[in-house]
């Protein structure tokens, strides 16, 4: 039998991720995986070959544009509405540090003893302090740098002046590859952390149903 919203309410489940957020997340996830796979093939052609070089370049470029468009949807909501408060910085340093050390203690000790996470998730406060800082750096610094360098390399002639300004194509390429390596680690850590819910499937289900189930 299908679970209704009212069933979730009665069960006390917390509605964390509305449908647009879930669609946005999965478009990003699929985009990142495709970019990583095609990026690997472009960079290390001798290791594996899923598509021809030309097809791989096309797929990499189009996926890149979809991910960039997805980023700007997020940015519009961030700038013009009050709906994305979870990426706002914590301005109370004392609160940040005390919450962070509580979270570090949980990850390094409490989690192995079966304790619950000290961070209580709500729609406006989804991230614990460590996640919050990590996502801010990713979304506000790393992702924009990655798509800027990607666009530069997409059309080297058109963006020649910009590339020169950054120190040449080697610098742009190196930055793009270093961030690409960072993203590979990010995806692995992200999936690992996603499995640290009440049950390994809890957070994954949450990203499909929108609800954080209480048990």
């Amino acid at each position: 039998m299908q679970t209704t919203y009212a069933d979730h309410f009665r069960h006390g489940d917390n509605y964390i991720n509305p449908l647009p957020v879930r669609i946005w997340h999965w478009v990003n996830a699929l985009g990142f995986v495709l970019l990583i796979l095609t990026g690997f093939q472009l960079r290390y052609m001798d290791l594996f070959r899923l598509l021809s070089f030309e097809e791989t370049v096309k797929l990499h470029n189009w996926t890149g544009f979809v991910v960039i468009a997805n980023y700007f949807i997020w940015l519009s909501f961030y700038l013009f509405t009050d709906k994305i408060k979870v990426y706002h910085p914590e301005l109370d340093a004392k609160k940040f540090f005390s919450d962070s050390f509580r979270q570090i203690r949980f990850y390094s000790y409490g989690i192995f003893k079966g304790e619950s996470s000290p961070h209580r998730v709500s729609p406006y406060d989804k991230f614990n302090p460590m996640q919050m800082v990590a996502y801010q750096v990713m979304m506000l610094v790393v992702v924009p740098i990655q798509f800027t360098t990607g666009i530069m390399m997409w059309d080297v002639k058109r963006f020649g002046n910009w590339i020169e300004l950054m120190g040449g194509i080697r610098v742009v390429d190196t930055v793009h590859v270093l961030i690409f390596i960072l993203f590979v680690f990010f995806i692995l850590v992200h999936a690992y952390m996603g499995a640290l819910g009440q049950k390994p499937s809890t957070h994954f289900k949450e990203m499909f149903t929108g609800y954080e189930e209480k048990d």
Binding site: T4, Y5, A6, F9, D13, N14, Y15, P18, Y78, L79, F80, T81, D82, K83, Y87, H88, P89, E90, L91, A93, F96, F97, S100, F101, S122, P123, Y124, M132, V133, Q136, V137, L140, V141
Partner: protein
């Protein structure tokens, strides 16, 4: 298509629901009233409300629980808590749960109208054409529209500032974290040493 703004009032005292209905229906709102939290949760499954008013003290599910569950389902819908015994504790809890505002009984028509406009401002109701939402009072609608535009500009300025400040604040926290951790360990050690030394 119904273009009227939808208001839901949850109060076990039917008189309160009727008061809201009388005042707001005249102003062109569509008012639904229910007398329990359970009925309210069923209602929001079928109707998209623009603003919800809930009493705190009700048999069964209380107003705080209703607020939490409505905000969990529709985080962007303003929920205003009506209270007859405005304890600061209840207000603080409701605020944490996402309540947009509080209104204390006894309610006058002016209070009902003003708190509704104020709550709708949060949803930036100014985007809706005045005639479509059926507001009879043009002056109020204009005020709401101006306030909505100002609010949008304010939101943009604040968010743009936070967008540029957030990475620097995050990096400052990351750099400071080990130092703060070391200081806290040293402080704990010092306190433990003092305690032992004094008790010896």
């Amino acid at each position: 298509m119904n273009t009227k703004l939808q208001v839901l009032v949850i109060d076990d005292d039917a008189v309160v629901g009727r008061s809201f209905d009388r005042v707001l229906s005249e102003k062109g709102y569509e008012v639904s009233t229910v007398q329990s939290g359970e009925e309210a949760l069923d209602s929001i499954e079928n109707t998209k409300f623009d603003v919800v008013f809930t009493d705190i003290k009700m048999p069964g599910m209380d107003g705080l629980e209703v607020t939490e569950r409505i905000k969990a389902r529709c985080p962007w819908t303003p929920v205003v808590v009506i209270t007859g015994f405005g304890s600061e504790d209840n207000e603080a809890r409701a605020s944490v749960l996402g309540a947009s505002g509080f209104v204390h009984k006894p309610l006058t028509p002016e209070i009902i109208e003003n708190i509704t406009l104020k709550a709708l401002n949060e949803k930036v109701v100014a985007e809706e054409p005045v005639e479509e939402v059926g507001m009879a009072n043009k002056a109020d609608a204009d005020t709401a529209q101006q306030a909505g535009v100002l609010r949008k500009a304010g939101i943009f300025a604040k968010n743009a500032g936070l967008f540029f400040a957030a990475p620097f604040i995050a990096l400052a926290y990351i750099i400071a974290l080990p130092f703060v951790g070391f200081y806290m360990f040293a402080k704990l050690g010092y306190q433990a040493y003092n305690k032992r030394h004094l008790s010896a």
